[in-house]
Symmetry: C4
Amino acid sequence: MQYRRLGKSGLQLSALSFGAWVTFGKQVDRTQARELLALAHARGVNFFDNAEIYNHGVAEEVMGDVLADLRFPRDSYCVSSKVFFGSAVNPLPTQRGLSRKHVIEACHQAMQRLRVDYLDLYFCHRADPETPMEETVAAMDTLIRQGKVLYWGTSEWSADEIHEAHRVARENHMYAPVMEQPEYNLLHRQRVEVEYAPLYDAYGMGTTIWSPLASGLLSGKYNNGVPPDSRLAQAGFEWLRDSLLGEGLDKRIGKVRALKTIADDLGVSQVQLALAWCLLNPHVSTVMLGASRLEQLEHNLGAMDVLPRLDAAVAQRIEQAMAG
Amino acid sequence: MQYRRLGKSGLQLSALSFGAWVTFGKQVDRTQARELLALAHARGVNFFDNAEIYNHGVAEEVMGDVLADLRFPRDSYCVSSKVFFGSAVNPLPTQRGLSRKHVIEACHQAMQRLRVDYLDLYFCHRADPETPMEETVAAMDTLIRQGKVLYWGTSEWSADEIHEAHRVARENHMYAPVMEQPEYNLLHRQRVEVEYAPLYDAYGMGTTIWSPLASGLLSGKYNNGVPPDSRLAQAGFEWLRDSLLGEGLDKRIGKVRALKTIADDLGVSQVQLALAWCLLNPHVSTVMLGASRLEQLEHNLGAMDVLPRLDAAVAQRIEQAMAG
Amino acid sequence: MQYRRLGKSGLQLSALSFGAWVTFGKQVDRTQARELLALAHARGVNFFDNAEIYNHGVAEEVMGDVLADLRFPRDSYCVSSKVFFGSAVNPLPTQRGLSRKHVIEACHQAMQRLRVDYLDLYFCHRADPETPMEETVAAMDTLIRQGKVLYWGTSEWSADEIHEAHRVARENHMYAPVMEQPEYNLLHRQRVEVEYAPLYDAYGMGTTIWSPLASGLLSGKYNNGVPPDSRLAQAGFEWLRDSLLGEGLDKRIGKVRALKTIADDLGVSQVQLALAWCLLNPHVSTVMLGASRLEQLEHNLGAMDVLPRLDAAVAQRIEQAMAG
Amino acid sequence: MQYRRLGKSGLQLSALSFGAWVTFGKQVDRTQARELLALAHARGVNFFDNAEIYNHGVAEEVMGDVLADLRFPRDSYCVSSKVFFGSAVNPLPTQRGLSRKHVIEACHQAMQRLRVDYLDLYFCHRADPETPMEETVAAMDTLIRQGKVLYWGTSEWSADEIHEAHRVARENHMYAPVMEQPEYNLLHRQRVEVEYAPLYDAYGMGTTIWSPLASGLLSGKYNNGVPPDSRLAQAGFEWLRDSLLGEGLDKRIGKVRALKTIADDLGVSQVQLALAWCLLNPHVSTVMLGASRLEQLEHNLGAMDVLPRLDAAVAQRIEQAMAG
């Protein structure tokens, strides 16, 4: 495994990490989760990502049970949670958002579900226009000083919102956010590459990217529509299906097929190529994998072997293919 | 239920909330308190107000027992206490006021009586000219940083005192007060509408208002004097009776009767009209109800249904009626 | 009992308070200590003074046992400790002084001996030229923020040292000292009345004064030398005997006799007169009594009845008598 | 024993102290460690140095067991740990360095191994170019405010790095490092005497020096090569052997022999002379001894008796001998 600093921070995350989103507690039961985390950890993965909203707290409970069972040394991995959407199916107004009350209560709840004494990373899952920035930054600052959180960050915030968080932190001598968790993949690049560009130098911001395969689109599995056993066919994922497979789909599938040609030429898998490509961006601290099956995780981890083959010429070919 | 932000803060309180003042542990025993809180919570009320002085700590004990019994999720409600008067019948000099010692000890005592690990809201029940503002603000700041209090505020402070608290907080990088708990009703408007006017924008101050029915005067129940079974007839409430039913009473009862006419024209209850009227003021974060009987609470909660009917014309009629 | 604010702070101490110095654990055993504290508390005394050095920790142990036994409400009294001399008979270099290590460890030890969760008042018993002011102020600040100390102060520091402590606190946003514990009595006035004069307004400093009877000299009991059963006749008190009964003794005894005449004229006891006189100084927050017998404490508490009789004329007579 | 302030701090360390490096858990088992610590403490040694890397945590475990067994009063000694290298044989990226995660986790682990509630001294064992200074200083600041560390410092940092740490601490109102742990002996003087020269006044920096005998070279035991039972002959110490006995060895042995002549002239041991010489430097707060045998420790502690004999003339002779 390769390790990268989380931005300019001293925390070194594995280049590939493991996200529990949409899988833990749904497709993935405790037994499977145990196998997945055991394999990931054995291969050097040291970041397990989670959030209060993932299966309404169940993803954290499953991960907590499995971590307790596997007895990894606490200093051998990082675990995260994210606050904003709440863990309840129909959260009350005090059970969601970035108020001091919810930021602190959600941290306590996540620690309990994950069975840890502190969260290594704690994200604001979205920005909350209904809470003043001062209140959220101060709540995060309190948690860090109390030892309940080591690093805090944001997820899918605009560059302006991140600037504002840093301004508030600096003026009040409070801890500033260290990382962002944005979507990033060959089909979704603008935010990480353009919008955030000034933030990397200014704040040393790191990124823990999600959806490196564009929810599977980059694997080619939706080239001919949504298979009935796919996640996108499940109830509750209509929004993702529409966003992924909606307008401009033909163009996107064209790019996916062009990528396949490059992968074939290199003699590597299309999935590994797409994952490895994310790591060409030096501002990507870690690429979060969302595997639900052991062979799938094994295969995805193989992206590290593909990475050295992505020289300037290959990168250029990919750019051209994506330019469509 | 409608929810409103507590001023500019991220905390969303129910527009109608529940106060334990003068009832819990007196007219209202544990069984009744349980029914009242259960109904309120079921209807979306998420703020239960209390104070060390309310029945000398007994109101908090009753509420604590009932909360423990009802097992509401801790993140589904907010509970408050207020410090100043002490909980003892004859408090010693160290058992009252806003000294660091009493602010901290009263917080610990309230948490114990209410059986919670932290107070969501903690008020200075009055200003204390015998304690420097720096000492009180610093004590509140300590409690917030320790996680024992989420938001602190004031009750019945002058605008000047609130300005001073903010100045001290800003200069010392300490947490500033977020809310006020003033009296507010159709017969008592000056402080909330005029004196505090500059504070809402300047500090984003929210208000949790008490006595929305002017201790019942607005319900019309004192139109013909004090009934013997009324709270005002009880020993210990002479001050309230005098203030409420003293000088200018005829004029006030005239206004109450005019309000009755408006309510009748709308086909709504006078009480609900008076409660709903408070919510027309955007600076009112929540209206605290003080019901002691289940039907009374049920009726008062109905004010939410009356609120949409208070259009500009009705509001104007009420203004004219109150102008006398 | 009369109560006075500790300087400008919000803490109100009884005008007469109780010090454990040289008595608890020596002349005064647990049974007697229990009677003394019970009487004092019943009469409204709310400050019990102690220090790590008093009988090498035993005075605090005795007081802690008695407080636990008497079950006074924790908010009905204040208890103090003082750090500097260490509690060991021959303290090691790490067991004394005002280093961060000793200030913090001595606080923990005093809390354990006194059986309390926090000290209301914590004094630096002397200034420590071997420790930078920054280190001591920071250690006190840490203890206050952790909730282990409510107010910190100094004892027998020079005005310059107190100025320096305030400067350091202000520049570093740390808690500043609130009170001094100086010697003060009719024969020892310079520091409290002259040296500290600028401090009362500048910092709102309060004083908890010790030795109001000049170790008994003002009671007249040493007018004819040291009785064999007196404290001054004990081993270990040579320094005090020398200081008290040394150079200029005749002049001092002359003053004591003049005081006796005034007391006789007023028909009050000389001791009560001397104690009450201290309270004429508005900068004296509390006068610490050091009684070892119940009747003695009872008698000394009677000083409160004498205080109202000290009008301007009497005060003037006392001044003249002391001017010799 | 003589005691010295740790720089300008109020902490007084014994002039000779005890380091566990390379011995505890290897040459020295629990029984021997117990005898060594008991002797050292009895002779007034009050600083026991350790580090996470020393025998990969075992040195701290042994010391913790022995301290628990010996029941020294906690305020009679200081214990340290150092963070950087990790305690694992092959530390993962999160298990080493000066990230917030590792600084905090290593502190918790050291407290557990050493069986103490706080570390008196906590060192950054090396500077970490992979972690921003802000992150490390903030982590140390958090530990100090939480009461888990009393003083933090550095080990083998460059003067520039120490300047930077102070700048960051000052700008952020955080605790600055108080001490350095550099190598210092007659053959290795540049850093302590020249590079650090501006730091002593600027920051009141103290030093806890290691290798006062240049890993034994100054004892003369390597004058004729490495004995097979020596530490330098062990696997894992090749780097030290090469550094010590490599290039320029003849010149160094010449100096060692010249020192022997001076020791013989004074009638003292060469080892004690070399140890005592370190204490001539007023910026040396304590000289750490690394004895593995009781007689050796006893002999080394005798350096205190030699110190008074090192007058200006002797010091001058030593300078000339070392000038070679």
